[in-house]
Symmetry: C2
Subunit: 353 residues, 2 copies
């Protein structure tokens, strides 16, 4: 197993350090891996002048999996577009062909109070959002800002080809088969031709998955239904732009975004794994960040890229057990639990493995 | 005051009937108006073969304000694109130049339990979402589904000109001046050039409104913050597509979408007024629908188009008073309150005027 480690910016290095300790602890299980570390995002801009240096890309391409901390921070926000940290993220997704972004929104019973929603509406929440990640308006051409009829005009292109839709559809249907058998495809077919094609292709594919119940929802209604009754969803599949919005909304329903990992996969299960939360510059370097989303990203890596289901579950059980034992970083702390820092949380997970 | 009335489909005619009774009751205040009724949406397809007949458009253009019930229903969903009811809606918005969509998300104290969110997070919620309504990817060209390199491709164009952004920005800044003085502009400037221009123009405009505090939020974060802490928002301004999603999400935070009106204004305060909820075909014709959003839309019409602030407030107070008296339609009913139908709710409002 060759793993490319990209700690990134802000709290990235701290949370990654704990995730790697957990991974190291699994060597005793007979897991063997090699790791190489590189720069992505703001730290890469500082070190090499660009957010995605050639050397980082080469390392990521040569690896079987990429572990990413988080990128970004205010000091890079005023740089020209192509130098901003998120360009590194978008670039690596595209260059590695990581078209399938899996974003679970799970509410751990111990953290039910962390949600803004009434506990009965979210207790036991377990949604998997499958977001297309290398197409749509994120990458569509033409795009730009230019002068037309004496004024500036900004424009972008939302675009999907049938093969792109089928590729992500296949991932989503297969995940639905392994879960509750329900797939909800989200589009805006009543307005956008692009997503009319999306719906047509999904309907067409459904015939090949008789064990999956396919439904469709307009994106505005999906944004409402997530608030109204989130447990109606099992697997959700949608495009890059709508997926960006809905996956964050779904993540926030849990109230504990510091707990949520994500996977971005190519067609051969090579993947990049990262927490859903950002680089949290305000608490960076203070040892306060929650490392659990990154630790759970390691579990996703073991499951999806390395087919090490047992090891993945060992990590996930350890995380559940530290929650049950009452360990909490500041972001998920409540009265009656035990507040710990980043390293102590790592210690607790390793002890529970 | 010339008012064009478009009852529309589903529950549209029932709720409109109550709204018009309330308006009639205000004649005694010295308000005088003329009304003409026409078809829009599915009923227009049935009567005239198209969702926005010429006669309807002519009437709407000649009027000072348009009152709309709701459009759509399953029987028209399988029609070709250009005949679907929502085409009528999009068409009338565009033809009348109704570029400013005002969507309040207000939680009445009596209905705090209706929200999915914990009461302390939403009690007193009062957000105004200002959504651009005649531009963006809704109307952008080119668009379509076509064959490219041997497969189908669907595409749409997100586009805004500087003048379109300024026009909606002006509306939003002015509303913020009259409210809490806080304006949050939502974009996705880290990915989309179109919304980078949006942000640049908003920043530029802020200099003219020193009494308004302008902030910016990425759309994915906005979808999260609405769930996490909705009361942080005063006025939100955003484009047509993001506004579609966020305004529905915000509406659902209140748990009582049957209470929320909306206004769609042109540059001269001519407007179309309608409830935020849909045509609810499942309960149509049963006398169960909540007419309050449509009644409150009449209040918005009196305020924004006819500058009859006193009359608008009379309606709004009457609605608050019927809620305080315990009257509830099925959608907002809870134990201990008095369940009523559409007509009884209209009666109660008129009695409370
Ligand atoms: C940082 C940004 C470019 C990125 C995206 O929009 O995809 C982020 O929001 C995400 O969801 O991973
Ligand atoms: C019916 C549909 C075309 C419309 C829209 O997307 O604008 C609706 O969702 C709305 O928000 O008024």
């Amino acid at each position: 197993m060759k793993i490319c480690v990209l700690p990134g910016d802000g709290i990235g290095p701290e949370i990654m350090a704990q995730a790697l300790r957990v991974l190291e602890a699994l060597r005793s299980d007979g897991l063997s891996f090699e790791m190489e570390t590189a720069h992505l995002g703001g730290c890469a801009v500082d070190a090499a002048g660009v957010p995605l240096p050639e050397a980082t890309l080469a390392l990521a391409k040569a690896a079987d999996a990429v572990l990413l901390g988080a990128v970004g921070g205010p000091q890079w926000d005023t740089l020209p577009r192509e130098k901003r940290p998120e360009r590194g993220l978008l670039g690596i997704r595209k260059e590695l062909n990581l078209f399938a972004n899996l974003r679970p929104a799970i509410l751990y019973p111990e953290l039910a109070n962390a949600s803004s929603l009434k506990p009965e509406l979210v207790a036991g929440l377990d949604i998997m959002i499958v977001r297309e990640l290398t197409g749509d308006i994120y990458f569509g051409q033409p795009r730009g800002i230019e002068e037309r009829n004496g004024e500036r005009v900004g424009y972008n292109t939302m675009i999907y080809s049938e093969s792109e839709i089928r590729r992500i559809g296949k991932v989503a249907f297969e995940i639905a088969q392994k879960r509750g058998g329900k797939l909800c495809s989200v589009d805006k077919m009543n307005v956008l031709e692009c997503t009319q094609l999306w719906r047509d292709v999904m309907i067409d594919m459904a015939a090949d998955y008789p064990d999956v119940t396919l439904s469709h929802m307009l994106v505005d209604n999906a944004a409402m239904q997530l608030v109204k009754n989130p447990k109606q969803f099992d697997v959700v599949v949608t495009g890059n732009m709508f997926g960006d919005i809905l996956s964050d909304e779904a993540a926030m329903l849990t109230g504990s975004i510091g707990m949520l990992p994500s996977a971005s996969l190519d067609a051969n299960n090579k993947g990049m794994y990262e927490p859903c939360h950002g680089s949290a510059p305000d608490i960076a370097g203070k040892g306060l960040a929650n490392p659990l989303a990154t630790i759970l990203s390691v579990a996703m890596m073991l499951r999806y890229t390395f087919s090490q289901e047992a090891a993945a579950q060992r990590i996930e059980s350890a995380v559940k057990s530290v929650l049950a034992q009452g360990y909490r970083t500041g972001d998920i702390f409540e009265a009656g639990t035990r507040k710990v820092g980043t390293v102590e949380m790592g210690d607790a997970v390793i002890a529970a493995l």
